[in-house]
Amino acid sequence: MSHIHLPDGIISPIWWVTGYLLCFTILFFILRKLDGEEIRRKVPMIGIVSAIMLLGMSVPLGIVPVHLSLAVLSGILLGPGFGFIAAFVVNLLLALIAHGGVTLIGLNTLIVGTEIFVGYHLFKAFSKKFSQMPSTVFATSIALVVSMALTVTIVGATAGLVEVIPHHHDHGHVEEEILIEEGIEETVVEESIVSDVKYMVFSGWTALFLILLVGNALESFGTAYIVRFFMKIRPDLIHQVKQ
Protein backbone atom coordinates (compact mmCIF):
# COMPACT_ATOMS: atom_id res chain seq x y z
CA MET A 1 0.00 0.00 0.00
CA SER A 2 1.59 3.20 -0.97
CA HIS A 3 0.10 6.20 0.53
CA ILE A 4 0.97 9.79 0.93
CA HIS A 5 2.92 10.32 4.06
CA LEU A 6 2.61 14.04 3.87
CA PRO A 7 1.68 15.83 7.03
CA ASP A 8 -1.16 18.33 6.99
CA GLY A 9 -0.62 21.80 5.73
CA ILE A 10 1.49 21.07 2.69
CA ILE A 11 -0.95 20.07 0.01
CA SER A 12 -3.28 22.82 -1.08
CA PRO A 13 -6.88 22.58 0.13
CA ILE A 14 -8.39 22.27 -3.35
CA TRP A 15 -6.73 18.93 -3.73
CA TRP A 16 -7.50 17.36 -0.45
CA VAL A 17 -11.05 18.68 -0.38
CA THR A 18 -11.59 17.17 -3.80
CA GLY A 19 -10.05 13.97 -2.49
CA TYR A 20 -12.48 13.89 0.39
CA LEU A 21 -15.45 14.58 -1.84
CA LEU A 22 -14.54 11.84 -4.27
CA CYS A 23 -13.83 9.42 -1.46
CA PHE A 24 -17.15 10.05 0.25
CA THR A 25 -19.06 9.81 -3.00
CA ILE A 26 -17.57 6.41 -3.68
CA LEU A 27 -18.21 5.30 -0.11
CA PHE A 28 -21.78 6.48 -0.37
CA PHE A 29 -22.40 4.43 -3.49
CA ILE A 30 -20.73 1.35 -2.13
CA LEU A 31 -22.75 1.49 1.05
CA ARG A 32 -25.99 2.18 -0.79
CA LYS A 33 -25.61 -0.37 -3.52
CA LEU A 34 -25.59 -3.23 -1.06
CA ASP A 35 -28.66 -4.39 0.67
CA GLY A 36 -28.66 -4.34 4.42
CA GLU A 37 -28.35 -8.04 5.13
CA GLU A 38 -25.37 -8.58 2.86
CA ILE A 39 -23.26 -5.82 4.24
CA ARG A 40 -24.27 -6.52 7.81
CA ARG A 41 -23.05 -10.04 7.37
CA LYS A 42 -19.82 -8.56 6.10
CA VAL A 43 -19.31 -5.98 8.83
CA PRO A 44 -17.19 -8.23 11.06
CA MET A 45 -15.10 -9.37 8.10
CA ILE A 46 -14.43 -5.84 6.86
CA GLY A 47 -13.42 -4.86 10.37
CA ILE A 48 -11.16 -7.88 10.67
CA VAL A 49 -9.48 -7.32 7.32
CA SER A 50 -8.88 -3.67 8.22
CA ALA A 51 -7.32 -4.83 11.46
CA ILE A 52 -5.15 -7.29 9.55
CA MET A 53 -3.89 -4.49 7.29
CA LEU A 54 -2.96 -2.48 10.34
CA LEU A 55 -1.24 -5.50 11.85
CA GLY A 56 0.65 -6.19 8.62
CA MET A 57 2.14 -2.74 8.84
CA SER A 58 3.32 -3.36 12.36
CA VAL A 59 5.21 -6.59 11.90
CA PRO A 60 8.77 -5.85 10.80
CA LEU A 61 10.21 -8.43 8.46
CA GLY A 62 13.64 -8.22 9.97
CA ILE A 63 16.12 -5.86 11.43
CA VAL A 64 15.58 -3.57 8.46
CA PRO A 65 12.17 -2.10 9.14
CA VAL A 66 10.33 -3.35 6.10
CA HIS A 67 6.90 -4.79 6.46
CA LEU A 68 3.82 -5.91 4.61
CA SER A 69 0.84 -3.72 3.95
CA LEU A 70 -1.57 -6.24 2.47
CA ALA A 71 -3.78 -3.85 0.51
CA VAL A 72 -4.10 -6.14 -2.50
CA LEU A 73 -4.66 -9.06 -0.19
CA SER A 74 -7.58 -7.28 1.39
CA GLY A 75 -8.99 -6.78 -2.10
CA ILE A 76 -8.61 -10.48 -2.80
CA LEU A 77 -10.41 -11.27 0.44
CA LEU A 78 -13.14 -8.65 0.35
CA GLY A 79 -13.52 -7.60 -3.26
CA PRO A 80 -12.89 -4.05 -4.44
CA GLY A 81 -16.01 -2.47 -2.93
CA PHE A 82 -15.60 -3.60 0.65
CA GLY A 83 -11.87 -3.27 0.12
CA PHE A 84 -12.41 0.43 -0.46
CA ILE A 85 -14.22 0.70 2.86
CA ALA A 86 -11.35 -1.09 4.56
CA ALA A 87 -8.91 1.32 2.91
CA PHE A 88 -10.87 4.23 4.33
CA VAL A 89 -10.95 2.74 7.81
CA VAL A 90 -7.25 1.99 7.78
CA ASN A 91 -6.30 5.46 6.59
CA LEU A 92 -8.60 7.08 9.10
CA LEU A 93 -7.07 5.13 11.97
CA LEU A 94 -3.57 5.83 10.73
CA ALA A 95 -4.29 9.51 10.46
CA LEU A 96 -5.50 9.50 14.05
CA ILE A 97 -2.03 8.44 15.12
CA ALA A 98 -0.50 11.03 12.81
CA HIS A 99 0.69 8.61 10.16
CA GLY A 100 -0.35 10.76 7.28
CA GLY A 101 -2.28 13.97 7.72
CA VAL A 102 -5.94 14.11 8.60
CA THR A 103 -6.56 16.22 5.55
CA LEU A 104 -5.12 13.50 3.39
CA ILE A 105 -7.45 10.70 4.42
CA GLY A 106 -9.58 11.20 1.33
CA LEU A 107 -6.70 11.19 -1.13
CA ASN A 108 -4.99 8.31 0.60
CA THR A 109 -8.17 6.25 0.53
CA LEU A 110 -8.46 6.90 -3.19
CA ILE A 111 -4.90 5.78 -3.74
CA VAL A 112 -5.16 2.65 -1.66
CA GLY A 113 -8.63 1.99 -3.03
CA THR A 114 -7.18 2.13 -6.53
CA GLU A 115 -4.45 -0.29 -5.56
CA ILE A 116 -7.05 -2.65 -4.19
CA PHE A 117 -9.26 -2.26 -7.23
CA VAL A 118 -6.44 -2.83 -9.69
CA GLY A 119 -4.95 -5.68 -7.68
CA TYR A 120 -8.27 -7.44 -7.34
CA HIS A 121 -9.15 -7.28 -11.01
CA LEU A 122 -5.69 -8.25 -12.16
CA PHE A 123 -5.70 -11.17 -9.76
CA LYS A 124 -9.04 -12.24 -11.09
CA ALA A 125 -7.87 -11.97 -14.67
CA PHE A 126 -4.52 -13.64 -14.12
CA SER A 127 -6.04 -16.48 -12.12
CA LYS A 128 -7.87 -17.64 -15.22
CA LYS A 129 -4.57 -18.31 -16.95
CA PHE A 130 -1.98 -18.88 -14.26
CA SER A 131 -1.80 -20.52 -10.89
CA GLN A 132 -2.41 -18.37 -7.87
CA MET A 133 1.23 -17.79 -6.98
CA PRO A 134 2.27 -15.92 -10.15
CA SER A 135 -1.16 -14.34 -10.38
CA THR A 136 -0.79 -12.83 -6.95
CA VAL A 137 2.78 -11.72 -7.51
CA PHE A 138 2.00 -9.93 -10.77
CA ALA A 139 -1.28 -8.48 -9.61
CA THR A 140 0.26 -7.11 -6.43
CA SER A 141 3.32 -5.83 -8.15
CA ILE A 142 1.45 -4.00 -10.89
CA ALA A 143 -1.14 -2.64 -8.48
CA LEU A 144 1.66 -1.27 -6.37
CA VAL A 145 3.27 0.43 -9.34
CA VAL A 146 -0.05 1.96 -10.27
CA SER A 147 -0.72 3.31 -6.81
CA MET A 148 2.83 4.54 -6.57
CA ALA A 149 2.48 6.39 -9.83
CA LEU A 150 -0.76 7.85 -8.59
CA THR A 151 0.91 9.01 -5.40
CA VAL A 152 3.73 10.61 -7.33
CA THR A 153 1.32 12.32 -9.67
CA ILE A 154 -0.86 13.68 -6.94
CA VAL A 155 1.96 14.88 -4.76
CA GLY A 156 3.79 16.19 -7.79
CA ALA A 157 0.81 18.09 -9.02
CA THR A 158 -0.09 19.52 -5.69
CA ALA A 159 3.06 20.21 -3.78
CA GLY A 160 5.67 20.71 -6.43
CA LEU A 161 7.81 17.92 -7.73
CA VAL A 162 10.62 18.48 -5.30
CA GLU A 163 8.76 16.93 -2.43
CA VAL A 164 7.61 13.94 -4.30
CA ILE A 165 8.61 11.24 -2.00
CA PRO A 166 6.60 8.35 -3.11
CA HIS A 167 6.68 6.21 -0.16
CA HIS A 168 6.07 2.59 -0.29
CA HIS A 169 5.66 1.21 3.17
CA ASP A 170 9.10 -0.12 3.28
CA HIS A 171 11.01 2.14 5.49
CA GLY A 172 10.72 4.59 8.22
CA HIS A 173 8.07 2.77 10.13
CA VAL A 174 9.69 3.23 13.39
CA GLU A 175 6.84 1.63 15.10
CA GLU A 176 5.73 -1.60 16.55
CA GLU A 177 8.27 -4.01 17.69
CA ILE A 178 5.96 -6.93 18.06
CA LEU A 179 8.63 -9.35 17.13
CA ILE A 180 11.65 -7.79 18.63
CA GLU A 181 10.45 -7.03 22.05
CA GLU A 182 13.72 -6.23 23.60
CA GLY A 183 17.16 -4.86 23.18
CA ILE A 184 17.59 -4.75 19.48
CA GLU A 185 14.63 -2.52 18.90
CA GLU A 186 16.28 0.62 20.13
CA THR A 187 19.00 0.27 17.57
CA VAL A 188 16.46 -0.53 14.92
CA VAL A 189 14.72 2.72 15.55
CA GLU A 190 17.85 4.78 15.50
CA GLU A 191 19.18 3.14 12.41
CA SER A 192 16.03 3.44 10.47
CA ILE A 193 15.71 7.12 11.14
CA VAL A 194 19.22 7.75 10.07
CA SER A 195 19.08 5.54 7.04
CA ASP A 196 15.80 7.04 5.95
CA VAL A 197 17.11 10.49 5.95
CA LYS A 198 20.29 9.41 4.30
CA TYR A 199 18.59 7.47 1.58
CA MET A 200 16.04 10.09 0.91
CA VAL A 201 18.16 13.10 0.87
CA PHE A 202 21.65 12.17 0.02
CA SER A 203 21.61 9.05 -2.07
CA GLY A 204 18.93 10.47 -4.28
CA TRP A 205 16.65 8.83 -6.73
CA THR A 206 18.64 5.72 -7.52
CA ALA A 207 18.57 4.56 -3.98
CA LEU A 208 14.92 5.46 -3.77
CA PHE A 209 14.20 3.47 -6.86
CA LEU A 210 16.00 0.46 -5.48
CA ILE A 211 14.16 0.66 -2.23
CA LEU A 212 10.86 0.83 -4.04
CA LEU A 213 11.79 -2.13 -6.15
CA VAL A 214 12.76 -4.22 -3.18
CA GLY A 215 9.67 -3.09 -1.31
CA ASN A 216 7.51 -3.99 -4.25
CA ALA A 217 9.06 -7.43 -4.54
CA LEU A 218 8.67 -8.14 -0.82
CA GLU A 219 5.05 -7.07 -0.79
CA SER A 220 4.25 -9.05 -3.91
CA PHE A 221 5.87 -12.25 -2.74
CA GLY A 222 4.61 -11.79 0.81
CA THR A 223 1.06 -11.46 -0.45
CA ALA A 224 1.56 -14.46 -2.71
CA TYR A 225 2.85 -16.61 0.13
CA ILE A 226 -0.13 -15.69 2.23
CA VAL A 227 -2.56 -16.45 -0.56
CA ARG A 228 -0.83 -19.74 -1.29
CA PHE A 229 -1.04 -20.62 2.37
CA PHE A 230 -4.74 -20.24 2.82
CA MET A 231 -5.56 -21.56 -0.64
CA LYS A 232 -4.35 -24.90 0.64
CA ILE A 233 -6.74 -24.81 3.53
CA ARG A 234 -9.62 -22.52 2.75
CA PRO A 235 -9.70 -21.78 -0.98
CA ASP A 236 -13.22 -20.46 -0.54
CA LEU A 237 -11.81 -17.37 1.15
CA ILE A 238 -10.85 -15.87 -2.18
CA HIS A 239 -13.55 -13.38 -2.97
CA GLN A 240 -14.09 -14.21 -6.63
CA VAL A 241 -14.47 -17.91 -6.04
CA LYS A 242 -17.52 -17.30 -3.94
CA GLN A 243 -19.24 -15.23 -6.56
Binding site: E181, E182, G183, F229, K232, I233, R234
Partner: protein, 283 residues
Protein backbone atom coordinates in the same frame (compact mmCIF):
# COMPACT_ATOMS: atom_id res chain seq x y z
CA UNK B 1 24.47 -29.81 41.30
CA UNK B 2 23.99 -26.64 39.31
CA UNK B 3 20.33 -25.89 38.85
CA UNK B 4 19.00 -25.90 35.31
CA UNK B 5 16.82 -22.84 35.71
CA UNK B 6 17.02 -20.16 38.30
CA UNK B 7 14.80 -17.10 38.54
CA UNK B 8 15.23 -14.55 41.29
CA UNK B 9 12.85 -11.73 42.09
CA UNK B 10 11.76 -10.96 38.60
CA UNK B 11 10.11 -7.72 37.62
CA UNK B 12 8.56 -7.26 34.23
CA UNK B 13 6.85 -4.24 32.74
CA UNK B 14 4.67 -4.78 29.70
CA UNK B 15 4.63 -2.08 27.03
CA UNK B 16 1.31 -0.89 28.39
CA UNK B 17 2.97 -0.43 31.80
CA UNK B 18 1.34 -3.41 33.44
CA UNK B 19 3.89 -4.40 36.01
CA UNK B 20 4.32 -8.04 36.91
CA UNK B 21 6.43 -9.08 39.88
CA UNK B 22 7.54 -12.58 40.55
CA UNK B 23 9.47 -12.15 43.73
CA UNK B 24 9.52 -13.87 47.10
CA UNK B 25 11.09 -17.30 46.88
CA UNK B 26 13.43 -18.26 44.05
CA UNK B 27 12.16 -20.33 41.17
CA UNK B 28 14.59 -23.19 40.76
CA UNK B 29 14.34 -26.15 38.44
CA UNK B 30 16.75 -29.06 38.46
CA UNK B 31 17.37 -31.50 35.65
CA UNK B 32 14.78 -34.21 35.31
CA UNK B 33 12.20 -32.61 37.59
CA UNK B 34 8.53 -32.26 36.90
CA UNK B 35 7.51 -28.79 38.00
CA UNK B 36 3.98 -27.44 38.17
CA UNK B 37 3.30 -23.73 38.59
CA UNK B 38 -0.01 -22.83 40.18
CA UNK B 39 -1.65 -19.50 40.78
CA UNK B 40 -4.82 -17.53 40.11
CA UNK B 41 -5.63 -15.91 36.78
CA UNK B 42 -3.23 -13.09 36.09
CA UNK B 43 -0.68 -14.18 38.69
CA UNK B 44 2.12 -14.09 36.15
CA UNK B 45 2.61 -17.75 35.27
CA UNK B 46 2.76 -17.16 31.56
CA UNK B 47 4.95 -14.13 32.11
CA UNK B 48 7.42 -16.22 34.10
CA UNK B 49 7.56 -18.83 31.36
CA UNK B 50 8.15 -16.18 28.71
CA UNK B 51 11.15 -14.97 30.65
CA UNK B 52 12.57 -18.44 30.96
CA UNK B 53 12.16 -18.76 27.20
CA UNK B 54 13.98 -15.51 26.59
CA UNK B 55 10.96 -13.95 24.91
CA UNK B 56 10.93 -11.13 27.43
CA UNK B 57 13.67 -9.27 29.24
CA UNK B 58 13.39 -8.56 32.94
CA UNK B 59 13.52 -4.99 34.19
CA UNK B 60 14.89 -6.27 37.45
CA UNK B 61 15.94 -9.63 38.80
CA UNK B 62 17.82 -12.49 37.26
CA UNK B 63 16.76 -15.28 34.98
CA UNK B 64 19.25 -18.01 34.23
CA UNK B 65 18.90 -21.12 32.16
CA UNK B 66 21.96 -23.35 32.28
CA UNK B 67 23.86 -20.42 33.64
CA UNK B 68 22.95 -18.16 30.71
CA UNK B 69 20.57 -15.24 30.38
CA UNK B 70 17.92 -16.54 28.01
CA UNK B 71 17.12 -13.17 26.47
CA UNK B 72 20.75 -12.55 25.56
CA UNK B 73 21.35 -16.09 24.42
CA UNK B 74 18.06 -16.68 22.75
CA UNK B 75 19.42 -18.80 19.95
CA UNK B 76 21.14 -21.17 22.31
CA UNK B 77 18.33 -21.43 24.81
CA UNK B 78 15.52 -21.93 22.33
CA UNK B 79 17.19 -25.10 21.14
CA UNK B 80 17.18 -26.71 24.55
CA UNK B 81 13.65 -25.72 25.49
CA UNK B 82 10.53 -26.94 23.73
CA UNK B 83 7.27 -25.11 24.31
CA UNK B 84 3.58 -25.79 23.90
CA UNK B 85 1.49 -22.72 24.53
CA UNK B 86 -2.05 -22.66 25.76
CA UNK B 87 -3.69 -21.89 22.48
CA UNK B 88 -2.22 -24.37 20.06
CA UNK B 89 -4.14 -22.82 17.21
CA UNK B 90 -1.88 -19.86 17.55
CA UNK B 91 1.32 -21.82 17.28
CA UNK B 92 0.79 -24.34 14.54
CA UNK B 93 2.19 -22.69 11.45
CA UNK B 94 2.78 -25.45 8.95
CA UNK B 95 0.13 -25.92 6.30
CA UNK B 96 0.34 -29.66 6.93
CA UNK B 97 1.12 -31.55 10.10
CA UNK B 98 4.39 -32.73 8.58
CA UNK B 99 5.47 -29.18 7.74
CA UNK B 100 4.67 -28.01 11.17
CA UNK B 101 6.65 -30.69 12.94
CA UNK B 102 9.55 -30.16 10.54
CA UNK B 103 9.48 -26.38 10.96
CA UNK B 104 12.34 -26.02 13.44
CA UNK B 105 14.49 -28.60 11.71
CA UNK B 106 14.14 -26.87 8.38
CA UNK B 107 15.12 -23.62 9.97
CA UNK B 108 18.30 -25.35 11.10
CA UNK B 109 18.90 -26.32 7.48
CA UNK B 110 19.08 -29.93 8.43
CA UNK B 111 19.47 -32.63 5.86
CA UNK B 112 16.19 -33.59 4.23
CA UNK B 113 16.54 -37.22 5.01
CA UNK B 114 17.31 -36.65 8.62
CA UNK B 115 14.36 -34.29 8.93
CA UNK B 116 12.13 -36.94 7.51
CA UNK B 117 13.40 -39.53 9.92
CA UNK B 118 13.11 -37.33 12.96
CA UNK B 119 9.65 -36.08 12.10
CA UNK B 120 8.36 -39.60 11.60
CA UNK B 121 9.96 -40.84 14.78
CA UNK B 122 8.48 -38.12 16.90
CA UNK B 123 5.09 -38.39 15.28
CA UNK B 124 4.99 -42.12 15.80
CA UNK B 125 6.07 -41.89 19.39
CA UNK B 126 3.24 -39.46 20.08
CA UNK B 127 0.78 -41.59 18.17
CA UNK B 128 0.10 -39.14 15.38
CA UNK B 129 2.10 -40.90 12.69
CA UNK B 130 -1.06 -41.30 10.66
CA UNK B 131 -1.86 -37.60 10.64
CA UNK B 132 1.29 -36.37 8.94
CA UNK B 133 -0.31 -35.23 5.71
CA UNK B 134 -3.44 -33.81 7.32
CA UNK B 135 -4.16 -30.11 7.53
CA UNK B 136 -3.77 -29.16 11.21
CA UNK B 137 -6.70 -26.80 11.05
CA UNK B 138 -9.11 -29.69 10.75
CA UNK B 139 -7.79 -31.77 13.61
CA UNK B 140 -9.46 -32.15 16.98
CA UNK B 141 -8.25 -30.19 19.97
CA UNK B 142 -6.37 -33.12 21.43
CA UNK B 143 -4.72 -33.96 18.13
CA UNK B 144 -3.63 -30.36 17.67
CA UNK B 145 -2.02 -30.38 21.10
CA UNK B 146 -0.09 -33.45 20.11
CA UNK B 147 1.04 -31.85 16.87
CA UNK B 148 2.29 -28.83 18.79
CA UNK B 149 4.02 -31.13 21.24
CA UNK B 150 5.65 -33.00 18.37
CA UNK B 151 6.85 -29.71 16.90
CA UNK B 152 8.50 -28.96 20.22
CA UNK B 153 9.84 -32.47 20.79
CA UNK B 154 11.45 -32.81 17.40
CA UNK B 155 14.36 -30.66 18.49
CA UNK B 156 14.98 -33.10 21.33
CA UNK B 157 14.88 -30.43 23.98
CA UNK B 158 16.12 -30.92 27.52
CA UNK B 159 13.26 -28.92 28.93
CA UNK B 160 9.64 -28.91 27.92
CA UNK B 161 7.44 -26.01 28.90
CA UNK B 162 3.67 -26.44 28.70
CA UNK B 163 1.24 -23.64 29.39
CA UNK B 164 -2.14 -25.13 30.30
CA UNK B 165 -1.70 -28.33 28.32
CA UNK B 166 -4.95 -29.89 29.54
CA UNK B 167 -7.26 -27.04 28.67
CA UNK B 168 -10.45 -28.02 26.81
CA UNK B 169 -9.33 -31.59 26.35
CA UNK B 170 -11.81 -34.34 27.01
CA UNK B 171 -10.98 -36.62 29.94
CA UNK B 172 -9.49 -39.35 27.80
CA UNK B 173 -7.27 -37.01 25.81
CA UNK B 174 -6.23 -35.44 29.08
CA UNK B 175 -5.34 -38.80 30.50
CA UNK B 176 -3.32 -39.60 27.40
CA UNK B 177 -1.51 -36.30 27.67
CA UNK B 178 -0.65 -36.98 31.30
CA UNK B 179 0.70 -40.42 30.43
CA UNK B 180 2.65 -39.00 27.53
CA UNK B 181 4.26 -36.29 29.61
CA UNK B 182 5.21 -38.70 32.34
CA UNK B 183 6.70 -40.99 29.74
CA UNK B 184 8.77 -38.18 28.23
CA UNK B 185 10.06 -37.37 31.67
CA UNK B 186 10.81 -40.91 32.77
CA UNK B 187 12.12 -42.42 29.59
CA UNK B 188 13.76 -39.45 27.92
CA UNK B 189 14.68 -37.58 31.05
CA UNK B 190 13.05 -34.40 29.86
CA UNK B 191 12.52 -31.75 32.50
CA UNK B 192 8.90 -30.60 32.56
CA UNK B 193 7.51 -27.22 33.54
CA UNK B 194 3.75 -27.09 33.44
CA UNK B 195 1.11 -24.54 34.37
CA UNK B 196 -2.45 -25.64 34.88
CA UNK B 197 -5.69 -24.79 36.61
CA UNK B 198 -6.66 -28.44 36.58
CA UNK B 199 -5.63 -29.12 40.11
CA UNK B 200 -6.70 -32.75 40.20
CA UNK B 201 -4.01 -33.92 37.83
CA UNK B 202 -1.30 -32.10 39.73
CA UNK B 203 -0.42 -34.75 42.34
CA UNK B 204 0.13 -37.22 39.56
CA UNK B 205 2.29 -35.03 37.37
CA UNK B 206 4.27 -32.87 39.78
CA UNK B 207 7.45 -33.52 41.70
CA UNK B 208 7.47 -29.98 42.90
CA UNK B 209 4.90 -27.20 42.89
CA UNK B 210 5.47 -23.48 42.87
CA UNK B 211 2.61 -21.22 43.87
CA UNK B 212 2.44 -17.70 42.50
CA UNK B 213 0.23 -15.08 44.03
CA UNK B 214 0.15 -11.33 44.32
CA UNK B 215 3.53 -10.84 42.71
CA UNK B 216 5.29 -13.41 44.83
CA UNK B 217 6.27 -17.01 44.76
CA UNK B 218 4.56 -17.74 48.03
CA UNK B 219 5.47 -21.34 48.53
CA UNK B 220 6.95 -24.39 46.91
CA UNK B 221 7.34 -28.04 47.73
CA UNK B 222 5.99 -31.46 46.94
CA UNK B 223 2.29 -31.64 46.18
CA UNK B 224 1.68 -33.03 49.65
CA UNK B 225 3.50 -30.19 51.34
CA UNK B 226 1.91 -27.46 49.29
CA UNK B 227 -1.62 -28.77 49.34
CA UNK B 228 -1.58 -29.16 53.07
CA UNK B 229 -0.78 -25.48 53.50
CA UNK B 230 -4.42 -24.51 53.60
CA UNK B 231 -3.83 -20.83 54.34
CA UNK B 232 -1.54 -20.22 51.40
CA UNK B 233 -3.76 -22.19 49.08
CA UNK B 234 -6.85 -20.24 50.00
CA UNK B 235 -5.10 -16.96 49.62
CA UNK B 236 -3.97 -17.88 46.14
CA UNK B 237 -7.53 -18.70 45.03
CA UNK B 238 -6.54 -22.33 44.92
CA UNK B 239 -8.27 -25.41 46.12
CA UNK B 240 -6.43 -28.58 46.90
CA UNK B 241 -7.26 -31.57 44.73
CA UNK B 242 -10.43 -33.29 45.76
CA UNK B 243 -8.72 -36.39 47.09
CA UNK B 244 -6.17 -34.38 49.04
CA UNK B 245 -8.94 -32.35 50.59
CA UNK B 246 -11.05 -35.37 51.44
CA UNK B 247 -8.20 -37.22 53.08
CA UNK B 248 -6.99 -34.16 54.91
CA UNK B 249 -10.44 -33.80 56.40
CA UNK B 250 -10.43 -37.41 57.50
CA UNK B 251 -7.05 -36.86 59.07
CA UNK B 252 -8.38 -33.88 60.96
CA UNK B 253 -11.19 -36.00 62.28
CA UNK B 254 -8.54 -38.14 63.89
CA UNK B 255 -8.14 -40.96 61.42
CA UNK B 256 -4.55 -41.79 60.72
CA UNK B 257 -4.36 -41.90 56.96
CA UNK B 258 -1.94 -40.80 54.29
CA UNK B 259 -2.68 -38.33 51.47
CA UNK B 260 -3.05 -40.22 48.18
CA UNK B 261 -1.67 -39.14 44.81
CA UNK B 262 -4.26 -40.76 42.65
CA UNK B 263 -7.45 -42.74 42.69
CA UNK B 264 -5.79 -46.13 43.04
CA UNK B 265 -3.86 -45.03 46.09
CA UNK B 266 -6.95 -43.44 47.57
CA UNK B 267 -8.88 -46.65 47.21
CA UNK B 268 -6.15 -48.71 48.81
CA UNK B 269 -5.73 -46.32 51.68
CA UNK B 270 -9.43 -46.20 52.41
CA UNK B 271 -9.88 -49.90 52.27
CA UNK B 272 -6.98 -50.52 54.54
CA UNK B 273 -8.31 -47.88 56.93
CA UNK B 274 -11.73 -49.44 56.87
CA UNK B 275 -10.42 -52.88 57.63
CA UNK B 276 -8.13 -51.47 60.31
CA UNK B 277 -11.12 -49.89 61.95
CA UNK B 278 -12.76 -53.24 62.00
CA UNK B 279 -9.71 -54.89 63.47
CA UNK B 280 -9.16 -52.15 65.99
CA UNK B 281 -12.72 -52.15 67.08
CA UNK B 282 -12.91 -55.89 67.36
CA UNK B 283 -9.78 -56.16 69.44
Amino acid sequence: MESLIKVQCLKHIYPDRTQVNICGLDFIVNTGEKIVILGPNGAGKTTLLSHVLGLLSPVEGTVEVMGLRPDKNFNIIRKVIGVVFQNVDEQIIGPRVYDDIAFSLRNERMDKKEIDERVKNVANSLGIGNLLDKIPHYLSGGQKKKVALAGAMVMMPKILILDEPFDSLDPKSKGEMVTLLKHLNEVHGITLIITTHDINVVPEIADKIYVLNNGNIVTYGTPKEVFSDVEVMKEANLEPPILTELFTRLKKKGYSIDIPENLEEAEELLISLLSQQQVQAST
